[in-house]
């Protein structure tokens, strides 16, 4: 949609006018990215810094979002939590998309036995309950930020490889691919130069929506005791752990991480929806 150069600003303005929710989502996502990138500058305290005499104080001028049971500043923890969520989210989705694209594009492009075999494996994978895949992986790998990433990525990759395969099939049918083949281009060149650019939009949209799902999934894992382990402050961990424990006496310990999760999921989904409407109308049903 947007042409390089001066068209950017205008395209953005038009996007914001036509897709106000999408623009709102984009703002939220950008805010999260900024929080994650500059956590040290934004957060007034360290995420594990206990402040003497400030146990479970309500939100105030000194502590915008209050403090928790270990006397830590919740605003600071929410800011650092953005870093954890973004790290988990982006790493997971990047890994998942890499896998999904590799599987989806090659199966659709080459077809044949390769397609058949890989798709049956994906079928089998998808027919297992998420729970057993994730819990088994977490139990094998042990809790840890990196392992949460791997466990979630493997799952998301399987689902999304289907959609990417579908999109690739649509591209491969086109005449220019056949033309490229006819003039003797190598498979690698065709895939990189012709197929990938045409499925890029699909991948971006899927990735945006998956980001929201990962953040939610991490919070559910935290509830089950398999989330990102301490001392890293993940939003899910803050809500499912001490947030839930002290929910009556210090509701702010639960509310703010909860709000952060909801906003992030809202932001990623709205942005994803809007991108879908704008970039690739065919994907609406997916």
């Amino acid at each position: 949609m947007s042409r390089p150069g001066g068209g950017w600003a205008r395209a953005l303005a038009r996007f914001a006018r036509r897709k106000p929710l999408g623009a709102l989502g984009a703002v939220i996502v950008v805010a999260m990215l900024v929080m994650a990138a500059f956590a040290e500058r934004i957060a007034p305290y360290g995420y594990d810094e206990s402040l003497r005499g400030a146990r479970m104080t309500a939100p105030s001028a000194a502590h915008w979002l209050g403090t928790d049971n270990l006397s830590r500043d919740i605003w600071s923890r929410v800011v650092y939590g953005a870093r954890v969520s973004i790290t988990v989210g982006f790493l997971t989705v990047a890994l998942a998309m890499l896998l999904a694209t590799a599987i989806g594009v090659t199966t659709a492009y080459f077809g044949g036995v390769w397609d058949l075999v890989v798709q049956r494996v994906v079928d089998a994978w998808l027919s297992f309950p998420y729970l057993i895949i994730i819990l088994s992986l977490m139990a094998v790998l042990g809790p840890g930020l990196g392992n949460v990433v791997v466990a979630l990525a493997v799952l998301i990759a399987a689902t999304n490889s289907r959609v990417i395969r579908g999109a690739t099939l649509g591209v491969v049918e086109h005449a220019y691919i056949e033309a490229a083949r006819a003039i003797g281009c190598s498979h690698a060149r065709i895939i990189v130069r012709h197929v990938l650019p045409n499925v890029a939009a699909t991948i971006i949209i899927l990735a945006t929506i998956a980001l929201g799902a990962v953040i939610l999934a991490e919070s559910a894992l935290s509830f089950l005791g398999f989330g990102v382990p301490p001392p890293h402050p993940s939003w899910g961990g803050m809500l499912a752990g001490s947030g839930r424990t002290y929910m009556f006496r210090a509701p702010w310990m639960a509310i703010w991480p909860g709000v952060a999760i909801s906003l992030a999921v809202f932001g990623f989904n709205m942005l994803g929806d809007a991108l879908r409407d704008v970039l690739d109308p065919r994907l609406r049903g997916s």
Binding site: G225, F226, P229, P231, G241, R244, F248
Partner: protein, 540 residues
């Protein structure tokens, strides 16, 4: 530090005094028969006390309602929580002709539950012998170690049982009274069902009978009409609910569904209690007593750097125990010497700990000096094996401990494991640096001390091989006189305090909570729910 403990104990006895003051009035009332008591219990993996997987509290608590032992700890409002005076259960009396022999006279006319295949026949000495032998010979009985000192058991007549030990074991009677060990089961059940795992095989001589078992949901008990104490139990029916989520438990308690606190042993976590006590609309009673759940840092004391006593002492000095109590136990907790403070008769008061008491202070500066003297001026890296046990309090404690250690230069990475992986490795000392977590809450000091400190014992997580400790551990087992035995146990604690093989954390103080309509009930630590409720009654 010492002060807070004394204050606490004072506070504990104060609230108990409150209970006791209420008691004469209650005692004047004649007990009422009838009613249903509801409480939260745990889903037993199966019902065979001796089979593998008949683990700890989940099964033991459930069977205290239905089964009897030879002896039991006395229950009721007059018993101080943390003490376990023994009284007869199936035994009428007992004698100890010599150090290694115990002879029990059984009550006559004790009837099994009127359920097939036992059908209410009389309990006799052979039943006891059968149970003890099954306990000792069933493959995979995780508690078999409790009777490892026993050589043989025999019935000398229909109502007399004689136990002969391999060596003197001063804790033998306490062991028989422990719900983990020796509930008497019926041979007919084992013969009919093959084992005792099915709910139909729950046939005992206890005050209630298992009426229904709903997997993952709950258990229903009904009164045993032929219970051997005439008139008991007063309560007709016990409804136990399996409830795996704390929010759900809070909700149920507030709605009046539970008559006693939902955590073992009939308590409510202080964190929850301070939040909901104003919202409980019905009258309830409370009593406070220290918890026997104690966490510690264990470490490879057989390897560098932990083989240097100064390093271990420095670690103890680095821990702000008061800070831990403030942050994780709502400011109410007790300091633990090597025997948890909850075991009132055996734990050494901090002020009598002598030289070793200084290591329980919080003194990071001194800790850094000690580390420097040991050659670790800039600290050292390490890892802490850990599992959450699903407890936010434990997770919070772990984070604080990590921070305290870091403050003195010990950079400990948390190596968090899933429970299954943890129990199969770190709990048995299979870790490379340190581990952190709670220990099984026993009721006598021997199981704590012997397991943790005797060379090559599987629960000797710190890999301690200290002949002086080993010698004292054996000596206390051979000291029959409780006063002299206490002196040995005090000596062990004094010695261990200077060595700091484990860095003990403080424990919380339980809040025992029960509905005011539940009379003649006194909370205590330990799994004996059934015993504590046998003579209790409901005034409604």
């Amino acid at each position: 530090m010492d002060l807070s403990r004394r204050q606490l104990l004072a506070a504990g006895s104060l609230s108990l005094a409150g209970v006791a003051l209420g008691a004469p009035g209650a005692g004047a009332q004649a007990p009422k028969r009838g009613g249903t008591l509801s409480l939260r219990l745990w889903d037993p993996p199966h019902f065979d006390l001796h089979a593998p997987g008949g683990l700890s509290y989940k099964l033991h608590i459930a069977l205290t309602f239905t089964h009897s032992r030879l002896l039991k700890p006395k229950a009721g409002p007059s018993v101080h929580p943390g003490t376990f005076p023994l009284e007869p259960d199936l035994a009428e009396s007992w004698t100890q002709p010599n150090e290694r022999t115990y002879v029990f006279k059984l009550r006559r006319g004790v009837k099994w539950h009127p359920k097939p295949p036992v059908n209410g026949r009389e309990l006799v000495a052979d039943d006891v012998v059968y149970t003890v032998n099954r306990f000792m010979t069933t493959k995979g009985n995780a508690n078999a170690f409790m009777l490892e000192s026993l050589a043989r058991v025999e019935a000398t007549d229909k109502y007399t049982v004689k136990f002969t030990l391999k060596e003197p074991f001063a804790w033998f009677l306490d062991t028989l009274a422990n719900p983990m060990a020796l509930a008497i089961v019926a041979r007919e059940c084992v013969e009919k069902f093959g084992d005792l795992k099915q709910p139909e095989a729950v046939v005992g001589t206890g005050p209630w009978m298992l009426d229904a078992y709903r997997p993952n949901q709950g258990l229903t008990y009904v009164r045993h009409p032929g219970y051997f104490v005439a008139g008991l139990p007063y309560i007709d029916r016990v409804e136990a609910t399996v409830d795996e989520d704390n929010a759900s438990r809070i909700s149920s308690f507030l709605a009046g569904k539970y008559d006693i606190g939902w955590e073992n042993p009939g308590t409510i976590n202080r964190t929850d209690w301070v939040q909901i006590k104003d919202k409980v609309k019905r009258p309830v009673r409370t009593a406070e007593f220290p918890s026997n759940v104690m966490s510690h840092i264990s470490m490879r004391a057989d390897e560098k750097p932990f083989s240097d006593v100064r390093v271990r002492q420095a670690m103890s000095l680095a821990i702000d125990r008061k800070g831990l109590i403030e942050a994780t136990a709502e400011g109410v907790g007790v300091m633990n010497p090597p025997v948890p403070a909850a075991l009132r008769d055996w734990t050494i008061p901090m002020e009598q700990l002598g030289e070793g008491a200084r290591w329980y202070r919080y003194d990071p500066a001194e800790a850094r000096k000690l580390l420097a003297a040991a050659g670790y001026a800039s600290g050292f890296p390490g890892s802490v094996c850990f599992t959450t046990y699903g407890s936010t309090v434990l997770v919070d404690s772990m984070q604080l401990v990590q921070k305290y250690l870091k403050d003195v230069g010990i950079d400990a990475k948390i190596d968090q494991k899933e429970y299954g992986a943890y129990v199969s490795s770190c709990f048995y000392g299979n870790f490379s640096s340190m581990a952190f977590g709670p220990q099984t809450p026993f009721l006598e000091p021997d199981t704590f001390l012997y397991g943790q400190y005797y060379p090559n014992h599987p629960r000797n997580q710190s890999h301690i091989n200290d002949p002086q400790v080993a010698d004292m551990l054996v000596r206390q087992r051979r000291t029959a006189d409780p006063v002299k035995r206490r002196a040995v146990i005090y000596d062990i604690q004094r010695y261990l305090a200077t060595k700091q093989y484990y860095v003990q954390m403080p424990s919380g103080v339980y809040v025992g909570v029960w509905d005011a309509a539940l009379k003649n009930y006194g909370p205590n630590i330990g799994y004996d729910y059934g015993g504590r409720l046998t003579a209790a009654w409901l005034d409604r």
